[in-house]
Symmetry: C2
Subunit: 190 residues, 2 copies
């Protein structure tokens, strides 16, 4: 996705240790027009899989997942990292190691919003190690729903997430693919 790639090259910063600072347009300040275009692109790529819901993880996944859900005209569910008082006692809960937080995080979804009839498209801002998305996929499995695809805004190939997720055997799409961040570089796949 050309507009996203240009924005990453213009405004992204390589903070070292694989950390890409894109908080001016993805995950602190958000550009709504760019995010809507991302959602339309992901919606188009995944139109054939017949998703009934988009699933993401709070926090940074919400904006691109919402716009993908808008494009597909289906609801979006965001997994919570702490359980709100409005959620029933029984939940689908999985843990994932957080690369950027240095600890395990919980991902919690209410059974009210995932059913065995659902066909789930997972959308997140980053595909890096794949650990968060793998945890979301386990929640999909716990609910009896069918996982039909995985979409990410930015993929970092050197963290191996695509391999981690390959056993899920669903299409994986990323809008921008970062292949190298060594030596302060930000190299994108063409």
């Amino acid at each position: 996705m050309q507009a996203l790639k240009e924005r990453i090259l213009q405004e992204g910063r390589n903070l070292g240790r694989g950390i890409l600072k894109v908080d001016g347009f993805v995950n602190h300040q958000v550009d709504p027009v760019l995010t809507m275009a991302m959602g339309q692109e992901l919606g188009q790529r995944f139109a054939p899989v017949g998703a009934t819901k988009v699933l993401t993880a709070e926090i940074s996944g919400i904006a691109p997942a919402l716009m993908t859900a808008l494009a597909l005209d289906i609801p979006v569910v965001y997994a919570r990292k702490s359980k709100p008082i409005t959620m029933p006692d029984e939940t689908y809960t999985q843990r994932a190691p957080s690369h950027t937080k240095g600890k395990q995080v919980e991902l919690i979804v209410s059974p009210e919003f995932l059913s065995s009839e659902d066909r789930i498209l997972i959308v997140d801002d980053f595909l890096a190690t794949g650990n968060t998305i793998a945890a979301l996929a386990r929640i999909v499995g716990d609910s009896g729903a069918t996982l039909v695809g995985i979409g990410a805004v930015i993929e970092k190939t050197f963290e191996g997430g695509r391999d981690t997720l390959s056993s899920l055997d669903v299409p994986i799409e990323s809008l921008a693919i970062v292949t190298d961040m060594s030596d302060g570089k930000i190299v994108l796949a063409s």
Copy 2:
């Protein structure tokens, strides 16, 4: 906003102690089409104030704030509740007591994304006690930006937030106003 009011009356549940469960369309599962309509409505009501950015708080504020920002064609910034590694050392940080979490939460915004030239519209999912929005308004003040309005999806009048925020002297708009939740009721202002 009629579509929202109908949805609250159809699907909202009064869990007692002023807690309104709307996690089927606002804050766990989100209806993108309804959320876009909310954003358009807030965008229309606040068009005259000339906002340059929307400010919200993660997590549940993100969806309506993003759609409001889309309608106004301006960026949205969401205050973080824990500091990501991509954020500089110096931040604008304010604390707010969380009604639903029973503890203080921090709201953190990078100075990179708020400047003294900015005109800020705060948008959140709930206007209840007003504590979260008041903390966001203090962040706006810390940055030297100008607060120009406050928009909420659902206001609960009986928690006094509008009074708390009245000293800010900006227009306050809510899309649905709950006036009474005593005895299991959900009463909306017409």
